[in-house]
Symmetry: C2
Subunit: 336 residues, 2 copies
Amino acid sequence: MVSMKDISAVCGVSIATVSKALNDHKDIGEETKAQIRRVAKELGYSPNAAAKSLKTNRTYNLGVLFADEAMSGLTHDYFSYVLDSFKNTVEENGYDITFINCSKKRAGRMSYLEHSRYRGFDGVVIACVDFYDPEVEELVRSEIPVVTIDHLFHNRCAVISDNIKGMRDLVQFVYDMGHRKIAYIHGADSAVTQNRLSSFYRTCEELGIEVPAQYMGEAPYRDTRGTFEETEKLLDLKNPPTCILYPDDFAALGGINAIHARGMKIPEDISIAGYDGSRIARHFEPQLTTLKQDTKQIGSQAAEKLINLIERPKTTLVEQIIVTGEVIPGTSVKQI
Amino acid sequence: MVSMKDISAVCGVSIATVSKALNDHKDIGEETKAQIRRVAKELGYSPNAAAKSLKTNRTYNLGVLFADEAMSGLTHDYFSYVLDSFKNTVEENGYDITFINCSKKRAGRMSYLEHSRYRGFDGVVIACVDFYDPEVEELVRSEIPVVTIDHLFHNRCAVISDNIKGMRDLVQFVYDMGHRKIAYIHGADSAVTQNRLSSFYRTCEELGIEVPAQYMGEAPYRDTRGTFEETEKLLDLKNPPTCILYPDDFAALGGINAIHARGMKIPEDISIAGYDGSRIARHFEPQLTTLKQDTKQIGSQAAEKLINLIERPKTTLVEQIIVTGEVIPGTSVKQI
DNA sequence: TGATTTTACGAAAACGATTAAGTTAAAAAT
DNA sequence: ATTTTTAACTTAATCGTTTTCGTAAAATCA
């Protein structure tokens, strides 16, 4: 690898001059700068991030902690969109991203914090993990700038998809379509689920509709088996709901199949709605009514916040940024 | 940050001794090692990857180039699975992954090779890009160990999903179900497409079935709009096919919708098949007949090959690794 | 006992950059 | 003409490791 030393030898100047020239400092003559830049290009010089960061304590590399329980990892169709947006935004700002190793099997592995320090991440984004993992808490309490997604820690920045408003809007939409018997198969216990759940209950209460206990079911996110079974239970009720809400669009497929298995049609016989607004839901038949989370906004806001935290720590607010979604009407909820 | 210097001060030994002790060299006394390790833990020492790699020229960091034309990026439902598997395997081996910045907008951006050198990647995996991009070629011709996925470069290792055999098996399956009028809406031009296409033609020829030109259509991968329109054309034919093959599972949705829009049923009125074996295809109704690419195998093979190339360059073969898939029968192809 | 080997450690250079603090010569000011 | 300022560099320390070579003491051997 050609280094500054090589350039300095060719140009007959000191290494310091080369460094300053390439970093465009003011105390280097214009012709010298030009020559150094030319020679650098000719020799095929490439800077060395390790050496640079050793001196400057900046890596321009951000850590991504991204390890949901279900191990869907990168294939998660909500977070992969968020991450994609995050990645695009940080790259536009000259940062790279590296995943924080979360394979917990390996002997001699580092904790999340150790790993982050080892790599010298300028900041870290945390999404889609067990937020009560002690390792996560250790990382969050560290000196490293952190932005979390869909979870709020004390004194830390968070970007949060507005599940409260989202669920309210969705229920309101279903209500406006005339439904009064609304069932909700919610996801497994988590902050996200709790927000959606309480918003569901509250909104129903405000709208004056009653939710019998049998109308509530639980199935893990993205689990079609669970929603299939829960849907069957709902359809078996003496007084079944006219509309079923699912944990997410993918899981809704389990419900769709359960409904079709009985020879019932959507939305003629029963209405359904998902959550996420995933790309594929637009192509279901009927088109799935869903709440589209603004993944692009969530990812880019997280990126911008994190970079601000790094580059302008004094003037950057510690706050939570709420990103709202929107109801995609679709055609899976019938007007009654 | 606490460094080896701090440890050496506390223990009253030299920095060299600390380094050797932590790296378990044989020329350090056992009790000294034990003490140094203990103190390191007590002080909360964390090693510095930048300093280490500066000396050793090894980063234990791999570059990932992953930038398809459609910019689906991380949300691509074939490559995100491949990448997830790749990531898991390299992490088990103590490597991290960093994306090679592919936002081409940024002024002063580095080329892929420059970026890779800058970060000091020990190796690079290339997937899902325009393989004829000069920057990609520059990277491939460099001294950096490279493994490509689904594309073969001269003198480079590649892991390739067997599209030849895959398409043959799929056509054979459809043939065995009794179909003789098979249409194929293929993806946009690429090596992958070409392999599938020629395998399609060859298999049909071997089976003695004729493929009229009107039975061939083209639509970009993952494009439901395109497959919708192409499907309509096929259905309009005087002598329509009994089975339609689609570029991929997602794109098949466009076809499904076109078919349903005419009030036709799958597979009663017409049969269809996808390609990929994506998770969601298992939940379509009817369950989509498709060729499941072994994404887990592809990712882990690529990871192992790349690591071998890095750690045992002398003894590692430059070869292409072919990963075969399997037909998922599903229920979208009718026996006739 | 004296010579030799082994064990356990230290000194110092090096990796490739950045940067504070000089230094020198030319230009500007007095 | 002398001093001051400015422009354009250079020197050298430093970041945190690794690693080669050297060395003193202890252990082994003759």
